[in-house]
Symmetry: C2
Subunit: 130 residues, 2 copies
């Protein structure tokens, strides 16, 4: 049985918003949207975002400074993320590819690093934009 995180009020509001969008949201756009719910300051948003990232409910798209919900219920910790990003329409999809994940999980360099996390972003053009 996995530990079920109990989310706080702000965390719930913000996760809710991100889960309703199938595309990544930016912190200040989230802030704008949750002002009607009484969240007024950037820091309130960033605090919730950081927590949600930490527990794996959302992921940060580093190259875009944006946040997307993780659809994979098994993904309790944000330690292995792969995204596909269309450079024309900016559509982002999370990729779950078993073979690729295996490869990345098993990767060893020759520097003696101990890895516990990775993030991979593929860029290109989606079907619509080709």
């Amino acid at each position: 049985m996995q530990k079920q995180e109990t989310l706080s009020k702000n965390q719930k509001i913000i996760l809710d918003l991100i889960e309703k969008s199938d595309q990544p949201l930016k912190a200040y756009s989230i802030l704008f949207d949750v002002k009607k719910k009484g969240i007024n300051a950037p820091l309130q948003v960033y605090r919730a975002l950081n927590k949600l990232v930490k527990i794996g409910k959302i992921h940060k798209i580093e190259s875009r400074n944006a946040f997307i919900a993780c659809k994979n219920s098994k993904c309790q910790i944000a330690k292995a993320t792969v995204f596909s990003i269309c450079e024309s329409c900016e559509d982002v999809t999370e990729i779950h590819d078993h073979k690729l994940s295996e490869h990345l999980r098993d990767f060893k360099d020759n520097k003696g690093m101990k890895y516990n996390k990775y993030n991979l972003e593929f860029f290109g053009l989606c079907k619509k934009c080709i």
Copy 2:
């Protein structure tokens, strides 16, 4: 025969600085350092950085908003980057692993995306910090 890019004055100054550091530099730290060379404004730095990224002389470490020189002379275009990042000391190394690159280059999802670029960042602890 590869096209040999001719760098402009600002581009040379900034590439020079980044190449002398074996660790990633941030834009405003670069700005601070090149003020003595007559580069006064952020935009001058960002313009040079963008060009250098485009031609593959440097790479951006997306999760750190920092820029590092590419040591691989063959890497003329920044289209396939893999980094190892120590989360304790922030040491960054570019990884060139043939088998991994092959895997990433050949990756196909089932959405019909046409990829032309990827960026992979591994996080963990380096030998010193374990």
